[in-house]
């Protein structure tokens, strides 16, 4: 089965390397931005913390980090420099996970195994957990940005929607925090994932 055009490009340019330098830079940029947003968000959410810290500065950092991260992520996906990232996104979002026949299958294969589609095929670039994590995080990030914008434009939208946006923004914060902690814990705990990341190889 021929790979998609995006994958053809990735394979041609990068060979067996799992991620190009640009992809790795963007990954770590997003990681730092996400941790900054979670840390500042926690301070803004918990008055007991914000009373002992410069809240206006924390608020400014939270908003500026969110805006900057959004712009950088959008720009990173555009143009020729974003081809590999678009390929990754395609594989994560659109390409199938053949081994998933049921939700028990998802749990059973969760995180530890690559998702080879057929015997003899090249191993997939991402495992099941990474696919689900990225899919959920992408949607949550979009929700965080949209509801964050709604919080910055009070009075221009109905009160009930603004209240809902605040509720969703905070709910998204908690879900992202759990996912990020899980993501980091899995990355640290998995010897195989760490080895693959260091060697920049696809999971075998």
């Amino acid at each position: 089965m021929p790979p998609s055009p995006e994958r053809q490009h990735t394979s041609a340019v990068e060979g067996d390397d799992r991620f190009a330098t640009f992809e790795k830079v963007i990954h770590w940029f997003i990681a730092i931005a996400m941790l900054t947003l979670l840390a500042t968000g926690l301070v803004l959410l918990v008055p007991a913390l914000s009373e002992h810290l410069p809240r206006p500065l924390i608020n400014r950092i939270h908003i500026d980090t969110g805006i900057t991260a959004t712009i950088v992520i959008i720009l990173s996906l555009l143009g020729p420099w974003g081809r590999n990232l678009r390929g990754d996104l395609h594989e994560l979002m659109i390409a199938p996970i053949d081994q998933l026949n049921s939700w028990t299958g998802i749990i059973g294969e969760w995180l530890h195994h690559a998702a080879p589609s057929k015997e003899g095929d090249r191993p997939e670039k991402f495992n099941v957990g990474q696919r689900l994590f990225t899919a959920a995080m992408s949607a949550l990030a979009i929700l965080a940005v949209l509801t964050g914008l709604a919080l910055r434009t009070p009075g221009r939208i109905p009160l009930s929607i603004q209240g809902g946006a605040e509720f969703t923004h905070e709910l998204v914060f908690f879900i992202i925090a759990v996912l990020v902690i899980g993501h980091i814990a899995k990355a640290v705990a998995s010897i195989r994932a760490g080895r693959n990341a260091r060697r920049n190889q696809r999971p075998l």
């Binding site: 089965m1 021929p2 790979p3 998609s4 803004l44 959410l45 918990v46 008055p47 007991a48 914000s50 009373e51 809240r55 206006p56 608020n59 400014r60 395609h90 994560l92 979002m93 659109i94 390409a95 199938p96 996970i97 053949d98 998933l100 998802i106 589609s117 057929k118 696919r131 689900l132 990225t134 899919a135 959920a136 992408s138 949607a139 949550l140 979009i142 929700l143 509801t147 709604a150 009070p154 009075g155 221009r156 009160l159 009930s160 929607i161 603004q162 209240g163 809902g164 946006a165 605040e166 509720f167 969703t168 709910l171 998204v172």
Partner: protein, 219 residues
């Protein structure tokens, strides 16, 4: 764009998760206001405890006002305009009010205990002119304002609060003095209060000029 293989054997789980989470987010945005109020209601009934206040400021900064230099100016159409220090306010009769603080965005904090001067006592002291029907409240942040009708301001539980839960209120909560209107949503309770002006008609405040209702009574 879709891989041909997906039509044959694959399952587009990533996309399904993405769209499901996005859809759930839209639903919580549409109904989150009601959900938050329901959750707060459960908390108030003693089911479980939720966190505390969320802190808002419209200027992005929090005024740092020393009690030693604080002045509350009361002017407008009154027989006896006054300027009160923090010590003046502390020396007046202090009242206690305990209520559930309710934000218009949906969150609440149950059983908040406030202590301060009853606004009705100050109104009696300055003696407003007969044509007065409204009071404007100004924040020391230089931007935020809100207002009450004279009748609303005379409610016995409306305070110029200086203590919260037995301690002087913090800067985040509006120190050293904030307005407190228990029967209304929190945006009426102006923080860092430094001026009260008596006017013929009630004037829409900061949020009310941006769409919030002037009558903020909690339904």
């Amino acid at each position: 764009m879709e891989s041909p293989r997906s039509d044959e054997t694959g399952r587009r789980v990533g996309r399904r998760v993405f769209l499901s989470v996005l859809g759930a987010g839209v639903v919580t945005t549409l109904f989150g206001h009601d959900i938050a109020q329901t959750i707060s209601g459960l908390a108030n009934s003693g089911g479980f405890a939720l966190g505390g206040f969320e802190i808002y400021t419209v200027t992005g900064s929090i005024p740092a006002i020393k009690t030693t230099t604080y002045r509350l100016k009361i002017d407008g159409r009154v027989a006896q305009p006054v300027e009160l220090s923090y010590g003046d306010l502390r020396s007046m009769v202090q009242r206690d009010v305990t209520f559930t603080f309710t934000c218009v965005t949906g969150w609440t904090v149950p059983n908040t205990r406030w202590r301060g001067v009853r606004l009705a006592d100050l109104i009696d002291q300055v003696r407003p002119h007969p044509e007065v029907h409204g009071l404007e409240f100004y924040s020391a942040d230089g931007v935020y304002t809100d207002s009450l009708s004279l009748e609303e301001a005379r409610q016995s539980n409306v305070l110029l609060a200086m203590d919260l839960d037995g301690k002087p209120i913090s800067a985040d909560h509006g120190a050293p003095v904030r307005l407190l209107v228990p029967s209304m949503y929190g945006y009426k309770s102006v923080k860092w209060l430094d001026r009260i002006s008596f006017v013929p008609q009630q004037v829409p405040g900061y949020w009310e000029q941006r769409g919030y209702p002037v009558n903020a009574t909690i339904s």
